[in-house]
């Protein structure tokens, strides 16, 4: 899909405004848009919004064999998905250049700066270690994806709890969550990124560019830094040339901003932990009901748990089933060629002798178990309403597909063999009953089902 192109007039207007140090949303040049952090019901699920940019992160863990070069270290795997819902030009599945850029930036920020102690993820050296997987989904793109993703990822990692493990000799026991409390990951420090957009050959700088500003910028610099003024990552992209003092200036501004964001993350984490401990509600649904996310309230609607009046359901259902049963019985009685035969609830059988005529190429060859004839006058079809599911016997000497029959069916076929000879002569051919192999036509509801699965 193509995205809306930016017109030349728009571009000129934005650049002219920025030259006067004015931004469209009235922010200062070094000010962030409002940041909202929400935690989900699952541990390790975090949703971050910077202005209109939205990102969802989820952390999960699994036990794997470690790398040979690092036998006593766990693995941290990052995956950023640019979903088509974020921007029409993002394609599902294929990773574009921009996707790789965001992925690598986040990998370097979190993995290479060792924000998680990997050695604590080791269970048995050289054999079993934890792999922590962070999946970041970009839901809406309004600029500054790298910052938003970094906040979401590190908040999710701090929020996550992994199952507790005990190692006794050679045996490793992973305790499920109801046995032992889950253990948090050991987070060494909280690295966050701050994005700067450069305009006018580096003379004007903006923090937290929106999508419009990103489209017209000369280049950008992403500074990864933590609260202790330690630089974790530096990334310059775009066709621009920077001077050393510009870099130093940006890094100092970033250091100032990061402190506020780290406090916000810690704050929200504490609130969420407190809510979980005190048994209050937590998760996205609760947050939707509470937090004003910068959109009109009219767009949100909420109802409490409702009860459904189902007193007559049991009776109506029985009537339907009986009526159905009778109808099927009548159809079976009246049908010229009994296509569908429902012998026992839960099984169905179909023959395809109405399509393309009778099979004639195996005439002369006859074995009792191969041929299943559907006899319209079968007297035992009145057992439709029986609830027992009889044992299913598989006859597999058919050349085509294996034929499944219930044991009751087998008895009936024996019975109807004598009748079969008469009807066969009448019909002048044999038909091979086909099993319902791949096409599972389960029971249909009484409604007008146009589609079924």
């Amino acid at each position: 899909m193509k995205d809306h192109p930016l017109s030349n007039c728009e571009e000129k207007f934005v650049l002219a405004a920025i030259a006067e140090n004015r931004r469209f949303d009235g922010r200062g040049v070094y000010i962030y848009r409002p940041i909202v952090i929400l935690y989900g019901h699952d541990r390790g699920c975090c949703h971050v919004q910077i202005g209109c940019t939205r990102v969802l992160a989820q952390v999960s863990c699994e036990v794997i064999i470690p790398k040979q070069t690092r036998p006593n270290e766990g693995v941290l795997h990052m995956n950023v998905e640019l979903s088509p819902m974020a921007c029409p030009s993002f394609e599902a599945g294929k990773q574009s250049d921009y996707g790789v850029e965001v992925n690598r930036a986040l990998e370097r920020l979190l993995r290479d700066s060792l924000c998680i102690d990997l050695e604590s993820l080791c269970i048995m050296s050289g054999e079993k270690v934890w792999q922590i997987r962070v999946d970041v989904h970009v839901l809406n793109h309004d600029g500054n994806l790298i910052d938003c993703s970094s906040i979401a990822a590190i908040a999710a990692l701090s929020h996550f709890r992994r199952p507790d493990v005990t190692v006794s000799g050679e045996e490793v026991t992973i305790h499920p969550l109801d046995e032992k409390d889950a253990v948090p990951l050991s987070v060494n420090h909280i690295p966050l990124s701050v994005t700067f957009a450069f305009f006018d050959q580096g003379r004007t700088l903006l923090v937290d560019p929106t999508d419009q500003e990103e489209r017209v910028m000369d280049g950008k610099m992403v500074v990864g830094i933590n609260k202790h003024r330690e630089l974790c990552m530096l990334h310059v992209s775009g066709k621009m040339l920077v001077l050393q003092d510009q870099v130093v200036r940006c890094v100092n501004i970033a250091a100032a901003r990061v402190g506020e964001i780290t406090d916000l993350i810690k704050d929200t984490l504490e609130k969420d932990n407190a809510a979980r401990k005190s048994g209050k509600e937590f998760g996205f649904a609760k947050c939707l009901a509470d937090v004003i996310l910068g959109v009109d309230d009219l767009l949100k609607h909420y109802v409490d748990s409702m009860s459904v009046d189902t007193t007559s359901v049991g009776q109506t259902a029985k009537t339907v089933v009986d009526a159905d049963g009778n109808r099927v019985q009548m159809e079976v009685d009246n049908a010229e060629t009994g296509n569908v035969s429902i012998k026992v609830p839960g099984t169905g059988k179909m023959s395809t002798n109405t399509e393309g005529g009778a099979v004639t190429w195996c005439e002369g060859e006859e074995s009792d178990s191969d041929v299943i004839l559907l006899d319209k006058n079968d007297s035992t079809s009145s057992e439709v309403s029986s609830k027992q599911v009889s044992a299913v016997v598989e006859l597999s000497d058919s050349e085509e597909e294996s034929v499944l029959m219930t044991s009751q069916d087998l008895e009936r076929t024996e019975l109807s063999k004598s009748r079969a000879i008469e009807t066969r002569e009448n019909r002048g051919g044999r038909c091979r009953g086909k099993s319902f192999g791949g096409r599972n036509r389960g029971k249909r509801g009484r409604g007008n089902g146009q589609r079924y699965f």
Binding site: N140, A285, L288, V295, L298, L299, T310, G314, N448, R451
Partner: protein, 217 residues
């Protein structure tokens, strides 16, 4: 005789127009299960997917963890067939309607939540539909009792999970998908209870749209 064990639907919540880049979007919550749906349409379509007489419906479902696999593709196909029935695709030939779904939280009844979110997003985008669609999940537990809108634990413990999608005009079944073993009596009971429940969901849709448009003169 089977009887209904739980005839309570969990609380619903929805938010429309939550995304800025797509034509229509909605978040739908059923209890703690949350799904975010975004709709683009009608937009240009690749030549290989183009239909001369109707719009091509493309559904992309993204799970929260891991890479999408066969199960996700199956879910996409179910939702696609449901939407193709409901949308008036003949009005927009040679175009595509792209629906993107993101699982945000799953505590049971995920497929029905997806379809409900889808319908709200399609309403938000304003694409012509012949009727609204809603879906309800039911479970038959080991004793044969029917549970409406089950949680994940109830789905796992039950012996069958049945999901039905209904249309708003005739309350007929548009889509059925089941897994597990159940008798025809149980099936009919599930279907009927789901139909009763769908009436509540359609009421909820109506209220949310009335609220959204209440300020518009």
């Amino acid at each position: 005789m089977s009887c209904l064990k739980q005839s309570n639907l969990r609380g619903f919540a929805c938010e429309q127009s939550c995304l800025t880049r797509s034509d229509g979007s909605a978040t739908f919550n059923q209890g703690e299960t949350t799904v975010l749906a975004a709709v683009y349409g009608p937009v240009e379509v690749k030549l290989s997917k183009e239909h001369v007489e109707k719009a091509a419906v493309d559904v992309i479902y993204k799970p929260k963890v891991g890479i999408p696999g066969c199960k996700e593709k199956a879910t996409e196909q179910l939702i696609k067939s449901t939407c193709e029935t409901v949308l008036l695709v003949a009005l927009h030939p040679r175009t595509a309607v792209v629906i993107v779904l993101q699982e945000m939280q799953n505590t049971g009844s995920l497929l029905s939540c997806c379809i409900n979110a889808c319908c709200q997003a399609l309403m938000d985008a304003g694409i012509n539909m012949r009727c609204l669609v809603c879906a309800v999940t039911t479970t038959v537990d080991q004793e044969g009792h029917i549970i409406l809108d089950p949680t994940s634990k109830q789905e796992e413990d039950g012996k069958a999970v049945l999901t039905f999608a209904f249309d708003s005009k005739t309350n007929g079944v548009i889509m059925t998908t089941t897994s597990g073993i159940y008798s025809s009596q149980e099936y009919q009971e599930c279907l009927l209870s789901a139909q009763h429940a769908s009436a509540k969901i359609f009421e909820f849709y109506r209220d949310s749209i009335l609220k959204k448009l209440s300020r518009v003169s």
